[in-house]
């Protein structure tokens, strides 16, 4: 049976994508979640994944083609159909642990997933350089601009003196601005937001974090942002009406809690890629995921599923912002939780005014699917969580 792989939608604001590269060749096996191709979108170069096991079939579009969301990109054959003898190899050996013995047309081993910086990819495209034959010198063998330049046999050209600083290669900030405009306009037009705010005493969490970080080297330290995301994720378990999607006016709850973490792009714009199952992760794991996400927001390599499936968004001003922020829901989600900058403020404890570290948490939620009463209970419960950091 032959199926097709279609240009995925990476958010309600995406209309089309450009194929930059196939990550797989015809005949290659794909497991659910494997990257099949890299697609250029308004959010930069994104790795798009398959949703079920399959075998890569005939490509239906070519590298460089820009096609609307939903356009068939390649044929997919059922995973069970071909090379059933490979079953004996066992799953543990991995899909690319051995190359196909069958006389396939695949000319040479193709790395399972090439890691290439967008700038390197662009230059290689201009010069017609085959990236599959290159060895990268970047992190984890990633192919970086210098490798492609070396392969092109050219000395590194000096950057033009008047060059605008580019925040991230491969990212069109004007296109991203239009995408944000489209999504936020739709949100404000269609979603009846209600807003709530609550001041939360973060002193215990701050002290707990300082004590924990004092004993650890920098690469194992946690940021307050991780505690905030975890607290939101865990609290959401009891508030399913805030976690899920609006589908043409009907609410579709999500059993999984995938927290979109709004991350500013240096130079302008933002993305909110998902930390999957954030409520299930320990703090160290959550920190590692957040670090990895921010890294990939900075340098490229976000995956399609991360952009398309957050079930809720958390946005934090961090250490250098203002007291509070009111978020705008990212459709089709139904809620966004915002945190202002934690600061020392006068606070009443047992009848005395004392200085405490306080953060203002806000909730903007879709009034079609929840009410302020429940939203208020959510923020109150969130406060309780954050005041008991041991429970996170």
């Amino acid at each position: 049976m032959t199926d097709v792989y279609r240009m995925p939608s990476l958010g309600s604001d995406m209309e089309a994508g450009t194929l930059i590269e196939w990550a797989k060749q015809p005949g290659d096996r794909l497991h659910k979640g494997d990257t099949i191709a890299v697609v250029e979108t308004q959010k930069g170069a994104i790795e798009v994944e398959v949703f079920h096991d399959a075998v890569m079939g005939r490509p239906l579009i070519a590298v460089g083609d820009k096609v609307p969301v939903g356009t068939p990109m390649a044929e997919l054959e059922s995973a069970g159909e071909r090379r059933t003898e490979r079953r004996s190899a066992g799953r543990a050996a991995g899909v690319h642990a051995e190359q196909p013995k069958a006389p396939r047309s695949t000319p040479e081993p193709i790395p399972n997933r090439l890691r290439i910086s967008p700038a390197a990819r662009r230059l290689a495209e201009e010069r017609g350089i085959n990236l599959a034959e290159m060895t990268g010198s970047g992190p984890d063998g990633a192919i970086v601009l210098a490798d492609v330049r070396a392969a092109a046999g050219r000395a590194e050209p000096p950057p033009p003196a008047s060059a605008q600083s580019t925040p991230r290669a491969g990212l069109d900030l004007a296109a991203m601005r239009r995408a944000i405009a489209a999504a936020m306009s739709r949100s404000k037009r269609e979603i009846p937001h209600y807003y709530l705010a609550h001041d939360i005493d973060l002193t215990a969490a701050t002290d707990w974090l300082a004590g924990r970080n004092a004993e650890r080297p920098p690469d194992r330290r946690l940021l307050m942002g991780v505690l905030l995301i975890k607290a939101v994720a865990v609290t959401l378990r009891a508030f399913p009406e805030l976690n899920g999607f609006d589908r043409d006016g009907r609410f579709e709850p999500s059993a999984a809690i995938h927290v979109g973490s709004a991350t500013a792009i240096r130079g302008g714009g933002l993305v909110a890629p998902a930390i999957h199952d954030a409520d299930q992760l320990g703090l160290d794991e959550l920190m590692a995921r957040l670090r990895d996400l921010v890294q990939r927001v900075r340098t490229g390599g976000l995956r399609a599923s991360e952009l398309s499936d957050p079930t809720v968004t958390v946005t934090s001003l961090g250490e250098r912002g203002v007291e509070r922020l009111y978020g705008i829901i990212y459709p089709p989600q139904v809620a966004i939780v915002g945190f202002g900058t934690p600061a020392l403020r006068p606070w009443v404890v047992n009848g005395d005014i004392v200085a405490r570290t306080v953060v203002t948490a806000t909730l903007a939620a879709d009034h079609r699917h929840s009410d302020g009463h429940r939203g208020a209970l959510f923020l109150a419960k969130l406060a309780t969580r954050l005041m008991e950091p041991d429970t996170l």
């Binding site: 580019t166 500013a264 250490e319």
Partner: protein
């Protein structure tokens, strides 16, 4: 290691964390977080890189002492000199 060498390393690691800063002239006394918009994750990644590269311990309480490239060079120079005799804690 001299202060200039350490300063160059600090700048190199900074531009690894925030590649867009490679095009910028960063004054030695400029506050990196305020003037160059480093967020807490960027800053932590920078500290992590300096810790690994130079083998010096940089406790969280000392972060304010690395607010600018110049201040960071001073701090790291002292730290590398005082850690000459003992191996870096990890």
């Amino acid at each position: 290691m001299t202060r200039d060498e350490i300063s160059a390393i600090a700048l190199e690691e900074l531009t690894n964390v925030a590649p867009d800063l490679a095009d910028e002239a960063i004054p030695l006394d400029a506050d990196l977080r305020e003037e160059f918009d480093l967020d807490s994750m960027d800053f932590l990644n920078w500290i992590t890189a300096l810790h690994k590269r130079l083998g010096v311990d940089i406790p969280e309480l000392d972060y304010p002492k690395l607010a600018s490239l110049g201040a960071a060079a001073d701090y790291l120079l002292r730290a590398t000199e005082s850690s000459q005799s003992s191996p870096p804690a990890d």
